[in-house]
């Protein structure tokens, strides 16, 4: 049998095309699944950005060690630094969204930068994990209880959850409460929700609410107003370095009322700045991450972290038990990456619509901070029961957070 010239050409062409397609298919199968994010990798709040980056990296190492997802490894496609400055977050996120090879996103650290980019993300539609921003409108644009943005899921302690937790505890014990908040989205919404929570829990409660700017070096005026209102306790919604300024200021004014902070304040910068004055400060934080003995999934994460970074600043002062703030700085990134990878696996694709459908069906996924469950109506996972109260205590010459009652 002889082949005519035209037949030979078409056979050769088909073979070549088939080969190319086969090669392309193989290449695509081996192509990594890329995720991208902008966060505070440097700057005064870089414990958050650096922390969640480490969490994502540890999760990716675990996933890839087990063969990846859908037969493909996961990698960080784009990682940009915004220093927690909203304008930079917007520029960075624009760059990330322009890269169509990125199939999964993470929100920036902090509510300000996240609120600045969240509408772009929602319009884009790619599945997005929010590791740290606490303002509820990040997820629920019309407030808690409303409809969530379809493609955004939060792994942080949402402000309303923390506020309800703290408000119930404070209202039970005090009737005159001073409330101080940083003038950011996180601070404002946090204090508004706490105020509403206290009013709901105790109608006779009197709340004096004051605000300050991040990095203010003197808070005398705010504290005088709290003192003049004869407040029996002070609750601050803010971050660690500012918390140290407030604690020192209170000491100078001989203000000895009980001092409470939001989760953002129970962090290494607070202890470093306030030193021994931090003793007695109470606040809410993640429960599971510091539970002794740790759950198997938490232990796996903690072992991996310690092997890579040791018991460092983000781990805390106790080399055996991590500080609970590690739940917010590192573990939310880790959990977010694992849950997203699980959604890729269940969806069988990285197509956004299918992944979102899979994310909405997440049920009983064991993470470091809680067991994750999302539905089309509920895009936050941390519940009141996942938090507990801690107090700074000086133990063996070290300032350590220990579980306590308010």
């Amino acid at each position: 049998m002889t082949l005519k010239r035209r037949e030979l050409l078409s056979f050769t062409g088909a073979a070549a095309a088939g080969g190319t397609l086969g090669f392309a298919r193989r290449a695509r199968a081996a192509d990594p699944i890329k995720v991208g994010f902008t966060t505070a990798l440097t700057g005064p709040f870089n414990e958050f950005g650096e922390g969640y980056k480490r969490g994502i990296e540890i999760a990716i190492e675990k996933i890839n060690k087990a063969g990846g997802v859908l037969g493909r490894p996961i990698e960080i496609g784009v990682m940009l630094d915004d220093q927690l400055i909203p304008d930079r977050s917007v520029q960075n996120m624009r760059r990330i969204l322009d890269d169509k090879s990125i199939v999964g996103l993470f929100c920036p650290s902090g509510s300000g930068p996240t609120l600045a980019v969240i509408d772009m993300i929602a319009a884009d539609g790619r599945p997005t994990m929010n590791p740290q921003a606490q303002t509820p409108t990040v997820i629920y644009p019309n407030g808690p209880g409303g409809k969530p943005r379809p493609n955004v899921y939060t792994f942080s302690i949402q402000n309303d959850i923390e506020a309800n937790f703290m408000a119930a505890l404070l209202a039970k014990k005090f009737t005159r409460i001073g409330l101080l908040n940083e003038s950011t989205g996180y601070g404002k919404t946090g204090s508004e929700l706490i105020k509403a929570g206290i009013a709901a829990a105790n109608k006779d409660a009197v709340v004096t609410n004051e605000s300050y700017n991040q990095k203010d070096q003197d808070m005398t005026a705010q504290l005088v107003r709290v003192q003049r209102a004869r407040s029996e306790a002070l609750m601050v919604v803010g971050l660690g370095a500012d918390m140290a300024v407030i604690r020192k200021n209170m000491t100078r004014m001989n203000m000895t009322i009980p001092f409470f902070t939001s989760a953002g304040g129970l962090s290494p910068p607070y202890v470093e700045g306030a030193g021994d004055l931090a003793a007695g400060t109470k606040g809410s934080q993640f429960k599971k991450i510091s539970t002794v003995p740790p759950a198997p999934e938490t232990k796996e994460f903690l072992d991996a972290y310690k092997a890579k970074y040791g018991a460092d600043r983000l781990w805390g002062t106790d080399p055996e038990v991590p500080t609970p703030s590690m739940g917010g700085t590192v573990a939310t990134g880790y959990d977010g990456m694992l849950v997203m990878a699980d959604a890729f696996r269940r969806a069988g694709t990285t197509d956004a619509a299918a992944v979102i459908k899979a994310m909405d069906a997440t049920k009983g996924f064991p993470g470091c901070n809680c067991t994750y469950e999302f539905t089309p109506e509920k895009h936050h996972a941390i519940k009141i029961g996942d938090l507990t109260t801690y107090e700074f205590v000086k133990k063996d010459g070290r300032m350590t957070l220990v579980p306590t009652a308010i």
């Binding site: 705010q222 100078r252 004014m253 470093e272 700045g273």
Partner: protein, 294 residues
């Protein structure tokens, strides 16, 4: 009354620091009609160096002296390589950009060397728990120390300017650089000295503020220089007692507005004051109206 005294003392203390910064700005304004817009970074660098050296086990006094020595070198560089070349061009405002540029570079260097996180600043002389009771009010010794030190620096500075040959030379340079040069005053050395003294005042201010706040980070100092500038204008550009008075007025007013009207309004107060003084008395509280004959 207790609230009033607490606010007053905090205002005087914070205001005294604004005053020191203002005097630093005044110094270079006298001699060259320029201001170091990187002054905030000088404050930051001095405080960060001090904190880091103390953390490495250096004695506090030695750490402060070493940090101030670095500031001296830095100010020599700033004057020689960023201000002097810009002043060669008549009417140029290049010095504003170049000094600001040095400040931004310093911020970046500090972030690179010490990290961008807030560094804990140790208690110098007194801690936050040290206080005395005056009329039933707990008065922080940290605040008192800041006020006393600031006042002492102003007194020493005034004595040096009014009672020494170098002080008189500086005033001569401030009045007329060309004429001062003709009569043999080393103008370049005086200008360089004014930058060094300005840097030292900024460095000391940085240490004073950092020990009150308890932390210092690379972005530290920027807001304080703005308040220092307000104090300088309020007191009258070029007036040392005016700078201190302007700082204290700004500091006390901030605290009183924050304590009695609204804490949210306290930061805007300094700028409202700046606008008011520029409209009502542009030469400032202690300044003299400048009359140019044409």
């Amino acid at each position: 009354m207790e609230d009033f005294l607490t606010l007053l003392l905090a205002g005087v203390s914070v205001g005294a620091v604004y005053g020191l910064i203002a005097i630093g700005l005044n110094l270079t304004f006298w001699t060259t009609r320029t201001m170091n817009f990187g002054q905030g970074s000088v404050m930051m660098l001095c405080a960060m160096l001090t904190a880091n050296l103390i953390a490495r086990g250096w004695m506090q006094g030695l750490a402060i002296l070493a940090a101030l020595a670095v500031i001296v070198v830095l100010m020599v560089f700033t004057e020689m390589y960023t201000v002097r070349p810009a002043l060669k061009i008549e009417g140029s405002m290049g010095w504003a950009v170049s000094t600001l540029g040095v400040g931004i570079i310093l911020q970046g260097c500090a972030a690179l060397w010490f990290g961008s996180q807030a560094v804990a600043f140790p208690d110098v002389i007194f801690s936050a728990v040290d206080d005395v009771v005056i009329f039933g009010v707990h008065v922080s010794l940290q605040y008192i120390a800041v006020v006393v030190l600031a006042l002492a620096l102003v007194v020493v500075f005034e004595l040096l300017v009014r009672g020494t040959v170098w002080g008189r030379a500086m005033r001569a340079v401030a009045m007329d650089q060309d004429f001062a040069a003709v009569i043999g005053i080393p103008v370049r050395a005086i200008v360089l000295g004014s930058y060094i003294a300005s840097g030292l005042l900024a460095g000391i201010s940085g240490i004073l503020v950092a020990q009150i706040g308890g932390t210092v980070d690379p972005a530290f100092g920027f807001d304080l220089v703005i308040f220092g500038f307000v104090a300088a204008v309020l007191g009258g550009m070029g007036s040392t007692p005016g700078a201190l008075a302007g700082g204290i007025v700004a500091g006390v007013l901030q605290q009183m507005v924050g304590g009695y009207i609204s804490s949210a309004a306290q930061h805007g107060m300094a700028f409202a004051l700046l606008i008011l003084i520029l409209v009502v008395r542009p030469q400032g509280l202690f300044g003299q109206r400048e009359i140019n004959k044409v």
